[in-house]
């Protein structure tokens, strides 16, 4: 009941966060710019088979954008929600109640996941809408487009929640951003860090949560916009891998928060 109350309150606070609303509005405007080429396609009397290809590319780009922005949003929301409570001092009245520190943090974490779930559903709806306006139907299984990003956001938000115990929320956000970029550039075959010894590169890649592995894109055959046939076991292992990272980072956050002095920063 306590965790639920904190999670719901965290989610309610996000919906009223002016900065968040502004970011989402800007993001939505950028997405709406995609409508112009789509409407042009629509304007063509008979969409030829070759016209589908740019549409699919557009949808693919859209998914990548949604996905990338979501990771940033998850990290920022997690860092800000804890730091904001400390800065404003609202945490004092909350923690004076019979709430354990891990319960508070879990409530906050679930509030962030609620926000991210709404974000994913909204953006997924938007992606389908864009495809529909362009005159194509996406032959994908939606759960992949929901669960994989959610899993990735769970990792990044837990990491941000851990880091914000030691640093300013902006620095925590930056650190998550650097981590995710690093994880992406360290992927085998990416060609970014070839000058780094292979052992070190592989070690770092194994240590960091893999952006590539947790990406829903790898299950999509973008040229056909259809779901590749992947065994359920592979899905389970990959999601388990992501959730494992999220759990470890969250437990680290709980450990760091356990002895953190609570006062107005």
């Amino acid at each position: 009941m306590r965790i639920r109350a904190i999670a719901r309150n965290t989610f309610a606070a996000f919906l009223r966060n002016k900065l968040l609303i502004l970011f989402l509005a800007i993001f939505l405007c950028v997405l709406l710019l995609f409508l112009t080429p789509l409407l042009m396609m629509r304007a063509a009397a008979r969409p030829s088979s070759t016209a589908i290809s740019p549409l699919i590319e557009l949808v693919s780009g859209l998914l990548m954008m949604v996905s990338g922005f979501g990771s940033l949003l998850a990290a920022w929301a997690a860092a800000d929600t804890v730091a904001g409570e400390m800065k404003s001092g609202t945490i004092l009245a909350v923690m004076a109640r019979p709430v354990r520190r891990w319960e508070f943090l879990l409530g906050k974490y679930l509030g962030v996941q609620m926000l991210m779930a709404v974000y994913i559903l909204f953006m997924l709806g938007f992606t389908y809408l864009v495809a529909w306006i362009g005159g194509a139907s996406l032959q994908t299984t939606p759960w992949v487009l929901i669960v994989y990003p959610l899993c990735r956001y769970a990792v990044y938000s837990a990491l941000a929640m851990f880091l914000v115990n030691f640093m300013h929320p902006i620095a925590a956000f930056g650190a998550v951003l650097v981590t995710s970029i690093l994880a992406w550039t360290l992927e085998p075959g990416s060609g970014f860090f070839d000058f780094v010894p292979a052992v070190l590169r592989s070690g770092l890649y194994a240590l960091l949560p893999s952006t590539e592995l947790l990406s829903e894109d790898r299950f999509l055959t973008i040229t056909k916009a259809s779901l590749q046939k992947i065994p359920w076991g592979t899905h389970a292992i990959t999601i388990g891998y992501g959730l494992d990272y999220a759990l470890v980072f969250f437990l680290l956050a709980v450990w760091a928060f356990r002895r953190r002095p609570l006062s107005r920063d």
Binding site: R2, T90, L92, A93, M95, A96, R97, P98, P261
Partner: protein, 310 residues
Amino acid sequence: MPAVIEFENVTKVYRRRFGGMRVTALSNVSFQAGEGEVCAFLGPNGAGKTTSIGLLMGFHFAHAGNIRVLGCAPGDVRAKARIGFLPENFAFYKYFTAPKLLQFHLALTGERRPESAARIPELIAKVRLQGYENLKIGRYSRGMVQRLGLAQALLGNPQLLILDEPTSGLDPTGRREVLELLAALKAEGKTVFLSSHILPEVEQICDHVVILDRGRMVRAGRLQEMAGVGDRVELIADRVPEGLEQTWRERGVIVEQGADKVRIAADMALKREIAEALWSAGCDVQSINPVRSSLQDIFLKLVEHREEPA
């Protein structure tokens, strides 16, 4: 009387990160507050009052010493379930209305009984916020926020109230109401632990006083005992013999002429001499009373006379 709050040789040091300066916020502080008492926690700014309250609530951790609250360690949920807390400068979620905020806090207590939720309008009325139920807290005045803070502290019928500057931001009427409320809570047998700067008001309701200065405890004890330490006396007579008034004034005696009586305030050591001089001159001595030190007198004496720590 069982102790509700126990501080035993508590020391708290704040350390800046990366090997920076160390600040001793509390040094070897020991005191107790008994059940059913109103305990005033006093000290100038920076004395360590809010730090002590933070330690008591489990917001900070002491470097040395032992703290018990309601028989539990600070931060223990069993103790927190029986504590009502009002932080200094109560911060709130601006988007809530008063009933919503109280419902949120009620959910945090884990209380599910319908009668607890039914108490919310009663609490709102108790702190005179009825009529503002639909107004967002962000639009409240400072005094209204403080009153709402008191209402949330009273939620769940706590056994112990810890109030950090409860009358801060309130107008004189509001302050009087808060004092009346605290007196009523005391009558109900609740323990109140409060910090305040407004000593004459605190004096009206408190039983026990703890005075801190620069992180050290300078005095703790029952107010009556502290006030009884007064070393002055007040005599009321119908007149003062001619010639004596000037002599007394030169010796530090205060003589105030009233319409039909004279008030003489002097050191306790001069009591007998003055009384005999008045009786010898045929004056009517109407009363001789020891002057009790006010809490403010005691506080100023203790805090001003303390030497700088080495």
